[in-house]
């Protein structure tokens, strides 16, 4: 399954890069979401994938019975999912407010911080 996941991750990353290079800020945001998913899958897969054996310790035993799924990457992915969500929520608020003020979603036209005539301003 790792091989297939690697292929899926490659596609997700390619799609998100393509989207994040777009001029429309909403597409950038979609790319961010896909990239977040891809990153989680990378962490998950590099800890190896085990089918149908959750990392649980049965009652009455001190250690899990037999081979179970790798718990550590799962814990990391859990953290990553939540942080990814926080990032997305913030970026979404940013996009929303940007559109309300600038009335555009075209990132090429968002030049408040680095205006085109910056050189003239410096003089």
């Amino acid at each position: 399954m790792e091989a297939l996941t690697a292929l899926v991750v490659g596609l997700l990353v390619a799609a998100s890069v393509y989207l994040m290079l777009a001029r429309n800020f909403m597409r950038f945001l979609f790319g961010l979401i896909l990239l977040s998913n891809a990153a989680n899958l990378v962490i998950f897969a590099s800890g190896r994938m085990t089918k149908g054996a959750p990392a649980l310790v049965p009652y009455g035993a001190d250690t899990p019975a037999g081979v179970v799924g790798n718990a550590l990457p799962q814990a990391l992915v859990l953290t990553a999912i939540v942080i990814g969500f926080g990032l997305l929520a913030f970026t979404l608020a940013l996009a929303f407010e940007t559109y309300r003020r600038l009335r555009t979603m075209d990132t090429d036209k968002m030049r408040v911080a680095e205006p085109k005539d910056a050189d003239e301003d410096m003089k």
Partner: protein, 767 residues
């Protein structure tokens, strides 16, 4: 142009008096070591600062440091007292006192530091504080420009110096000067040449040797007390101090001897001619300082006792008379309103004490007996005769000393005892706080010459011993050393100097004509700086386009290329695509994700994109479910739901996904996207093809129940073993929520159209 100062303003201010008192206390503190150091040798204080990097805050007080420390604190006290009166009523006097005091402390640290890194830190501190002092009249653009020039030039030299110090530390295994000097010359060791060049770059920029000389006369933009202090007695001597300090470890090689002799000699003679050419007395003195620095560097080239004794004696003499003369010029400027050598004359009657101080200092400068200046000159000739290429040193020395004789007459004789000049203001004696400094300095200069044995025992000989690394090898300080070659050379110098004084007006015109045709280093500096700025602006324009997708493109491209480079440079067996165990369900999930992704990429409908994103999220959750990660899957589904809801709410208020503007860049974007995706796949395949190290996982599986009493290992890791991570995660979510809240809430209050930008802070100097 005199700095604004109100003669009736109170000048005994807390800031001024505290700094004067503190500096005087420091002077007394060092004075108590005057009998100790010649008798018992050096004193050391040590604190560990950064032990892991061998950086120690260690101070080392030997003859050389002591002489400098006394000069710095002694002249410092007089200069600060002088400045309190000179700048009385100046609105920024307190600031000035702080700068001057900080400078004094940095300089003190510089000459006391035993650790090279500490020395470098103090070295840079003197650069910074002198920048503030030179640019003190910050309303004057010329003053700001000159301050910046001094800063950039000496800081650049400082960087070279740091590199040299690090090389020394790495090759010698220690940063302690006392240990380095005890180990003797490193001239035979590898890297010596590199170390020497770097250290010399630092010393030559700081001490304004040709071709880095031009910042020093420009630094005269500073108020006169600063010029007296920084540009005669202290900061510019930092380079000379460094050369003297490192003399035992660095000297002796041919490179050392020839570089120092030639650069020092050329600087000395060039500066003497330039001094003669000036009419502004302050500029004249500035160039004679250059001359003195050149002479000092030239004599430090030698290793004989006479050469070093000459350098140390001359250093002492020069600090005394130069600080005194600068202060005198300040008084003259303050009282008459001009510093023009052609206007000034006959001031002796109006200001007798100042005239006396000027006369005594001038005689010391001219090198007449019985002043210490005379002894220094005798020793210089004696030292010159012992040095390599002695004919060069003698000629350069004589030219410089003769010119100095003439300049001394111009600066110290003509304004006071020459014919009555045409003055802008009626002159009168300066206030005592200002006259005290030059008077004391000139008297000390006289006494030091009358009592050469005392001067030698307490100051010069310990300093020479420190530079030579061995006691009692220096030349003797005598007023009458017998009828010998140095005496003949001295007499010749006087004659030459007097002739030069008589013809100086004509010579000045000639020099001015020559200067007009010579290469102007100062203007060259401006051109260099302009070019530098142009290059910086040009490359900023190229790199910082201000367009988000350009930044993203560069970021992704760098990522792809570095990862690709690593993959290629560390070859391994090509990973096999192993689909064993990948059943119908897995292919189905993969197909779901692929389909969702394609929809997101290709659609221009907001709703379709939203559905695509949801499908991808659910697909990923399905993978988690199938592969033993139920907790992750639950979280993923919940978060995915929230994302879709949030996006749906936001998208209602936002425009369609129309493509705007030119799309010609999209094929390149697609190419890069495929590259980044491919690289990621390749990395993941190679990672999963390596043998897996289960040690961490085994630990968590073994201790989850036995130590943390939890049966769900993932949960135990989150809330027990990696609690801090979880805590951080919560913090991130809170910060994101607060940020989003502030954005949305803050925006609601403001008008939707662009609020006018707040006006930039008006330039301060316009006040």
């Amino acid at each position: 142009m005199a700095e604004p100062s109100d003669p009736n303003a109170p000048w005994v201010t807390p800031a001024g008096m505290i700094t004067v008192a503190l500096t005087a206390t420091l002077f007394l503190f060092f004075l108590q070591y005057l009998p100790v150091v010649p008798r018992d040798g050096a004193v050391q204080w040590v604190w560990d600062w950064i032990p892991s990097l061998q950086v120690r805050l260690s101070f080392w007080l030997d003859g050389l440091s002591l002489m400098f420390a006394l000069l710095i604190t002694g002249i410092g006290t007089l200069v600060m007292l002088y400045a309190a009166r000179y700048l009385a009523g100046h609105p920024q006097y307190n600031r000035f006192a702080l700068y001057l005091f900080s400078f004094m402390l940095s300089m003190l640290g510089l000459v006391l530091a035993d650790n090279l890194i500490a020395l470098f830190v103090f070295w840079e501190l003197t650069t910074f504080t002198s920048y503030l002092l030179i640019g003190f009249s910050h309303t004057d653009p010329k003053s700001r420009r000159n301050a910046l020039q001094a800063l950039l030039l000496t800081a650049a030299g400082g960087l070279a110096l740091l590199a040299g110090f690090i090389l020394i530390g790495v090759t010698q295994g220690t940063f302690e000067l006392s240990q380095l000097n005890a180990a003797g010359s490193m001239a035979e060791q590898p890297y010596y040449l590199g170390i020497l060049i770097l250290v010399l770059l630092g010393a030559f920029t700081k001490s304004a040797q040709v071709p880095f000389h031009f910042w020093l006369p420009n630094a005269m933009a500073a108020p006169t007390p600063v010029s007296a202090y920084l540009h005669s007695a202290t900061m510019v001597k930092g380079g000379v101090y460094l050369l003297a300090r490192m003399h035992p470890s660095l000297s002796g090689s041919d490179v050392w001897i020839y570089t120092l002799t030639i650069f020092g000699g050329v600087t000395a003679v060039f500066a003497s001619f330039m001094a003669l050419r000036q009419t502004d007395l302050k500029q004249t003195l500035a160039y004679t300082t250059l001359m003195a620095l050149g002479t000092l560097v030239m004599f430090l080239a030698g290793s004989s006792g006479y050469a070093i004794t000459a350098a140390m004696t001359f250093l002492l003499v020069h600090s005394l008379y130069k600080a005194g003369l600068f202060l005198v010029i300040g008084i003259v400027d303050h009282e008459t309103g001009t510093r023009d050598a052609n206007l000034l004359g006959g001031l002796a009657r109006a200001m007798p004490i100042t005239a006396l101080a000027a006369g005594l200092s001038g005689l010391a400068m001219a090198g007449l007996p019985p002043f210490l200046g005379f002894i220094a000159k005798e020793l210089s000739y004696a030292g010159a005769l012992t040095m390599a290429i002695s004919w060069f040193v003698v000629i350069m020395g004589m030219a410089a000393f003769a010119l100095m004789f003439a300049v001394a007459l111009i600066v110290a004789w003509k304004p006071f005892f020459g014919p009555q000049g045409d003055l802008p203001r009626k002159p009168h004696e300066g206030p005592w706080a200002m006259v005290l400094g030059p008077a004391m300095l000139s008297v000390i200069g006289l006494l030091a010459g009358l009592l050469p044995g005392v001067t030698a025992y307490y100051l010069v000989e310990p300093a020479v011993a420190a530079v030579m690394g061995a006691p009692d090898v220096g030349g003797r300080l005598k007023l009458w050393a017998g009828f010998n070659l140095p005496l003949v050379l001295s007499l010749l110098t006087f004659a030459l100097g007097f002739v030069l004084y008589l013809v100086h007006a004509r010579l000045r015109a000639m020099l001015a004509a020559m200067e007009a045709r010579a290469i102007d280093m100062d203007a060259g500096w401006d051109v260099l700086l302009d070019r530098f700025m142009a290059v910086a602006k040009g490359q900023t324009r190229v790199i910082q386009t201000g367009v988000l997708r350009h930044y993203m493109f560069v970021t992704f491209a760098v990522f792809a290329l570095t990862v690709l480079g690593t993959l290629v440079l560390r070859p391994a067996a090509a990973p096999a695509l192993n689909f064993a165990g990948t059943g119908f369900v897995e292919w189905g999930i993969a197909a779901l994700i692929v389909a969702g992704t394609m929809v997101v990429v290709l659609t221009s409908s907001r709703i379709a994109a939203l559905v695509g994103l949801g499908v991808v999220g659910i697909g990923v959750a399905l993978i988690f479910i199938a592969y033993s990660a139920p907790d992750v899957a639950i979280t993923q589904i919940l978060v995915e739901l929230l994302v879709v809801v949030l996006l749906a709410v936001a998208l209602l208020k936002m425009p369609h996904l129309d493509r705007t503007g030119k799309q010609s860049h999209r094929p390149f974007d697609a190419g890069l996207a495929v590259l980044v995706g491919g690289v990621t796949t390749w990395v993941l395949l190679r990672v999963t093809n390596t043998p897996f190290d289960r040690r961490l996982t085994d630990f968590f599986e073994a201790s989850s129940w036995t130590e943390a009493f939890g049966r769900n290992i993932v949960n135990v890791i989150l809330v027990d073993f990696r609690t801090l991570d979880t805590f951080g995660e919560i913090a991130v979510v809170i910060v994101a929520a607060l940020g989003a809240f502030a954005l949305l809430k803050g925006g609601a209050k403001r008008p939707p159209e662009d609020a006018p930008e707040p006006a930039p802070e008006t330039a301060r100097e316009e006040r």
